[in-house]
Subunit: 204 residues, 3 copies
Amino acid sequence: MTLYLVENLGIAVFAITGVLAVRQQGVDVFGAVVLGVVTAIGGGTIRDTLLGIPIYWVRDFTYAWSAIGAALLAFFLVKRLQHTYQWLLYLDGLGAALFGITAAEKLLSLHFSEPVAVLMGLLTSIGGGIMRDTLAGRPSLLMSRELYATPILLGCTVYVVTGHFMNNFLSGLLAMTCAFGLRATAIYRHLEMPVWLSTQAESE
Amino acid sequence: MTLYLVENLGIAVFAITGVLAVRQQGVDVFGAVVLGVVTAIGGGTIRDTLLGIPIYWVRDFTYAWSAIGAALLAFFLVKRLQHTYQWLLYLDGLGAALFGITAAEKLLSLHFSEPVAVLMGLLTSIGGGIMRDTLAGRPSLLMSRELYATPILLGCTVYVVTGHFMNNFLSGLLAMTCAFGLRATAIYRHLEMPVWLSTQAESE
Amino acid sequence: MTLYLVENLGIAVFAITGVLAVRQQGVDVFGAVVLGVVTAIGGGTIRDTLLGIPIYWVRDFTYAWSAIGAALLAFFLVKRLQHTYQWLLYLDGLGAALFGITAAEKLLSLHFSEPVAVLMGLLTSIGGGIMRDTLAGRPSLLMSRELYATPILLGCTVYVVTGHFMNNFLSGLLAMTCAFGLRATAIYRHLEMPVWLSTQAESE
């Protein structure tokens, strides 16, 4: 029950940050809501499709309502939400970590292999944002040096590896701490991927 | 039988408008045909994939032939079709409304919930065009204020809601009238989404 | 066993060319590896998803490791690989032909229709590269006049058609010769799609 609430809250946060991300480009309410909803439920949709299991929001449309409602709200309250954007970034990081790790957990419980669990956790977490950016013609996080996906990858890996020694709750907590800790530090200190792990754009 | 013909005609119209949409960008016949075919059958493909049912054109390749044939025709007759572009816009609007509403009907008959039926109707109708624009690097309708998707959303909603009071044929007719009426008016009068339902692109 | 090795080698080559294709845009190791992996396994992933069969790298993660390992290697050895880029182009063409034709073979053996086998062979072969370019915001091969997809289309068609007269091995060999022969000629002679099969980009 608590998890259900938290999941819907996470979806709502994703939908809100999704709308805020595209509002500067001049969109109408339809485009903004679609892109917000894609941000929120896109990653899980790709995951369920790839795994050949029923899409979670098709089975329970509450998730989709959370996304649609939050996106609508964000569109109309967009001016007021600007002040809270920095704060939303942290919430978004928390949501992304939570999404990734619970997805990894779900996959392990469905007896998928551990590497698949890590990969799908990552995809669940970042897939929606990448879809939004691709649809909106914006450079996605794949083309930036921001530390957004790496914390999730770390968290999912920690979860799967420590699951061998600890109980579920402890390894989940540890994974969340690692993922959110790294992401929060990256937001606070404007950390980027180090230069030796990046290539320079070439002027052609 | 009539529906089958109409469906294939709708696919052909979508493929033609798809080719016309990308021809100004300098493509070869392969790219143009692929993008035309994606426009025509992309939306239904996403829908069937998400629902975990066999893709309609894999089961019956006639649909794909209609798309391929029409796209090839459009590529080679492209000069002549320019004159009929305005006329094709109306046909496209009619096809989009038909696709969306018949998809919603199909989903209700497969016992999916009503919101899922509306959403999937919308996706069937606009998904192909969005895929084409994303693949072609063009801004998609999500980033414009054109009234293209809203009529479909209206039509599918009307269909699902009035289905409670009317027989199937009447509610379908009413839904088509609403969807195509709004779209045709939008084309004729160059209607756009009102300003209060849009954000301005910010100069950065 | 030999096929298994060759498949993994093909995936590795695709991952390497995928990383090389995006490195000039300024990416970090995470983005580069994701885009390399998408290039390598994206096409087969779309194919399996559309056909509703389990994704091949979910069943056997070795394929994914080949892609991840090769992409990582390519990222760190990128300077040295520049010299071999021309050579890699031929390998890539060979891999693309092999992927397409083995996919077509697999589909025929699963009793899909011949046009579906050709289409899915083509999609397996070029889908990953198109996904990479779309995600990276680059114009994909759909928007170029390069002879990349046409040889695959030719090869898959030859395979399916000659399968009626010849045994599997002979028609596969003939198809590979046609596909790779055309592609290699195109690379060597910088062949493009002829003008009458292309439209000009219009200055607007």
